[in-house]
Symmetry: C2
Subunit: 580 residues, 2 copies
């Protein structure tokens, strides 16, 4: 490509609403242009990156035996009503009425449509397994779209759906996809982790997120540097602590802590480690009657160590706690006789269900609220001062330094950006939509499904969050809009420069190198700044001065200085530098 | 590709709503699957065809210097309000409200968005010309979607937009696109015509439709077999007839024609050629006041030969007739004292504007209605029996046999399917949206635009209308889902057949041939029927019997019998048969 035939369009200033590097840099590099909140045009420079992402994904999906199709963007509501998602999904699902006042949605994913296709196409176990995928425009009407392509409303997603005879076969299909995803992310040239994720009601471990590591990532991801354990924060567990519980050494004492309503403040006031304090969280669960009115309410007191945070996913899975909510101030006062800030499990007004985190259950001589404003209790001990908890469980987020659950070291935490997700679905959709096949015994069985997504347009943004500096983007070779840029200096004045640039350009093109020749006749400073902002990884400068010495200047986007390369060897040198 | 890894899914029966061959065959061949009215999933077999269309279009657009981008499917209403199209476009424009109750549309085309991009990106004449294109999902909420992909609601279109300094430069850009379109349609291997089309208010001849010739086409296209004249029916003109007018030889006579209200019936009753009758069409134009109320109405009488039809586009361009409507029965009775069926230009109750077609103006001794039920007048002559018309003009559609306007023969008419359109837009959008650039003299000027569309998903349907038989589709090589199919017979029973099929498959793949190996172990009859329905152009059959003779059987989809090919030469033979 020659720059004069392309659209090289860089900006000095980032848009005011750009909060993260990828949004700023993609806009400044002329890769995206905002049309509305969370809605972007993929400009020529950005579209080239997206096409490279798509090509790698498509190649690996095909290699893994998946078959591409394209489902409609605008989908009739009927199928979404079959699974109940038309009503259950919130305003993120963009709903439309057509000219005949019939309901439609714009696809946020396509489970319903692909299950409808499967129930028509798949009749016999002989046709299984099957995996259908598409790379297609999606829309989610996010409440607060932001961060450019990172959390847009319109975006491109690769979504794949596997269909199998049995849970075992479905899990094998899942593993094929998980492997394909590793190949895909390896080929992108990004640092990433595949982390176990919560699989909700379906259970088991068959859900993994593919997270691109970046300090600005929205997700905390947990891993063990000494093993291959990795999980997202929702899912991650520490090795269960082992007893025995320490013996009581202190008397239980009511202690004034005026104005100190947090564990941090209390520990500081008393000069003790935060880990000797216990925080009290009050939850409630409602029992509903047939009309959906509240028949009865159960109040729960959860005890966590002062330096730990509750993990809502883990708590929601405990017996009796599905669908929990935080208790109201009224409920708290009724049960504890005290406002939040000084609550504790001792001297309650009404009984509650008491749930202790595994760590808290093993503590001795701990500190909690006294159920009286401006007072805490120190030296609290299980059994002696209060009965054993109704339930002991893992209630908390892990923290760095926790022992890894595989016993092979301690956990570390870093930030990541989710760009892929593989998920074993079971028969959730096939049962709702009666998508069955005939087993060998002639009986119908629901199809076992999995779903597999990659955020095609989010991926370049994640790549940038991981790979940029103050001058701009630094693309891995596989994702760069152009792999190589040739920067001739004074091409309009020097016939020699022009001839050398044209010859090298033609040679690289003939060798299949994705090269751009910058024939805009910009000044060197402006030209270099453009390509550093755009992030092309390999640059060759062709100048009159260099030609006199028979040399070009090569610089990788990460290099701090240029390398002189004999002109005659430039093409060979360059190809040696390109990632395969 | 191996069939076992793909989705080969054919149907015996076509859907009940399939009225045309392409709809029937694409559905039966498993290429499309209906999701809702005018909304289809592109199934794996169909998507392969669409991707081939896209690839050829993309290659030729790039070659012609156009730059690809991708504009959003969901577009904020604001831009559409700037040009007035948000209100002016009918219910075909699908309108949406997002969660914040803001108005959006789903793109039917993207003039507004691309003009918005141009006004931001193009600042100077030095950046011109530019041509931006996309290949992207579109939606038009057709009142009556039908014919499968031919007139769907959701479809894929390639839309390109050129930006230039001057009308002359814009016309040059238009010609570059028209040339690229010829290359594209040549490469598709379809019979097509580029026909002049009406360019509406913009005038000039800079609008052409690319029509795939097919007997089932919705459009009548006009061409001269002896020259390169071609136009669509709206636009086509015959050579203007030359005088002098014939002399009057008959007396004007009121003739009873009881119950004969059409020219055909009258001509039959009187035993005269239809071409001696004249039909009367009554139109009206309204003059509106500032509030949009009707201030005055002008009634027009148009006279056409009985064997000719009115061309509404031509009539709408006549002075005073822009925005005409057909007169009401009340208006007709007030001016003619008679109901429709026996109207004519003689003995009217109130004066009207009289417009005669060029042919009628030269007629003598003609026949028209008597403005009295059940009576016509014969032997009518201009000047003697009624005054000369207020206006003489070309009011009619051409008919086969009319002299070509270039004087080089007579016109012929065939049917076509519009699959592409190139159009010079002028400054219609750039002026409405204030999209200007700075000219060399430092002054802002509106960008001169052109727009260029290709119906990517309509094209395969048009190709099928042109190329099919009673057994199924017959794809040109360039569009086939697979160029070659290998049909081994009894691959599961014969190790020799399997080995020969696998070897040939590997060799063809290595040579870059788009080949499918049918490893489904279907019976020969079912297998051949599938591939004849799907329309793969080249088939090689590998059987035990053939292998004993060292031969495979080759058959092109259009051949009536197979050709024996020595096994060793099969790959070379096949490649010789493939279109380049």
């Amino acid at each position: 490509m020659k720059a004069s035939r392309f659209l090289v369009s860089t900006l000095k200033e980032a848009p005011a609403d750009a909060e993260v590097a990828s949004h700023r840099l993609m806009t400044r590099a002329g890769m995206i242009k905002k049309l509305g909140a969370g809605i972007y045009t993929y400009m020529p420079m950005g579209l080239r990156v997206i096409r490279k992402v798509e090509a790698i994904v498509r190649e690996e999906m095909n290699r893994a035996g998946a078959v591409e199709m394209t489902m409609p963007v605008v989908q009739p509501a009927e199928l979404w009503q079959e699974t109940g998602r038309f009503d259950k999904m919130g305003p993120e699902l963009l709903r439309i009425k057509d000219r005949h006042d019939r309901d439609f949605v714009i696809q946020p994913t396509s489970e319903e449509v692909v299950t409808d296709i499967a129930r028509q196409e798949i009749r016999s176990y002989k046709q299984l397994p099957k995996n259908f995928y598409q790379i297609q425009t999606k829309f989610r009407d996010e409440r607060r779209p932001r961060f450019g392509l990172m959390r847009g409303r319109e975006f491109i997603m690769k979504d794949a759906y596997s269909f199998d005879r049995s849970p075992e076969a479905a899990k094998a299909s899942y593993q094929v996809m998980a492997q394909a995803y590793r190949r895909i992310f390896d080929r992108f040239g990004l640092r990433y982790r595949a982390v176990a994720a919560d699989s909700g009601a379906i259970g088991g471990d068959l859900s993994e997120e593919f997270q691109v590591i970046a300090a600005t990532g929205e997700d905390a991801i947990v891993y063990c540097p000494d093993s291959d354990y990795a999980a997202n924060m929702e899912k991650a567990e520490a090795l269960a602590p082992t007893g025995p519980r320490g013996a009581a050494t202190q008397q239980m004492t009511k202690t004034p802590t005026p104005g100190k309503s947090t564990c941090e403040d209390v520990a500081a006031l008393l000069g003790v480690p935060l880990s000797t304090t216990v925080k009290s969280l009050v939850l409630a669960t409602d029992l509903l009657d047939d009309q959906g009115a509240i028949k009865a309410t159960q109040v729960w007191l959860l005890l966590l160590r002062g330096d730990h945070d509750m993990n809502e996913v883990k708590v929601g899975k405990l017996p009796g706690l599905a669908g929990f909510r935080f208790a109201t101030v009224g409920e708290i006062e009724a049960h504890f006789g005290c406002k939040p800030g000084y609550l504790g499990p001792i001297h309650m007004k009404q009984p509650v269900k008491l749930v202790a985190d595994r760590e808290v259950a093993l503590m001795a001589d701990w500190i909690c609220g006294a159920n009286e404003p401006d007072f805490h209790i120190t030296g609290v001990n299980w059994g002696r001062d209060l009965p054993e908890p109704d339930l002991v469980a893992d209630l908390r987020n892990v923290v760095a330094g926790d022992p890894s659950p595989d016993g092979k070291g301690v956990l570390a935490i870093e930030r990541g950006i989710e760009v892929g997700h593989v998920f074993y679905l079971g028969t959730k959709y096939s049962q709702a939509m009666n998508a069955t096949f005939l087993e060998e015994d002639g009986k119908p069985r629901p199809l076992e499904m999995g779903c597999y997504g990659i955020g095609i347009t989010r991926l370049p943004a994640a790549a940038i969050e991981q790979n940029h500096d103050e001058r701009g983007i630094i693309w891995p070779d596989a994702l760069a809009p152009f792999t190589v840029v040739l920067c001739p200096i004074g091409m309009d004045r020097s016939a020699e420069v022009k001839a050398a640039a044209d010859a090298l350009y033609d040679q690289l093109l003939a060798d299949g190198v994705d090269v751009l020749l910058d024939d805009r006749n910009e000044r060197p400073g402006a030209m270099f700044a453009d390509w550093e902002l755009i992030g092309v990884p390999h640059r060759l400068v062709i100048s009159d001065r260099g030609l006199k010495e028979g040399q070009f200047e090569y610089q990788h986007r990460r290099d701090t200085a240029a390398t002189k390369v004999p002109a005659a060897e430039a093409a060979a040198f360059l190809k040696g530098r390109l990632a395969v």
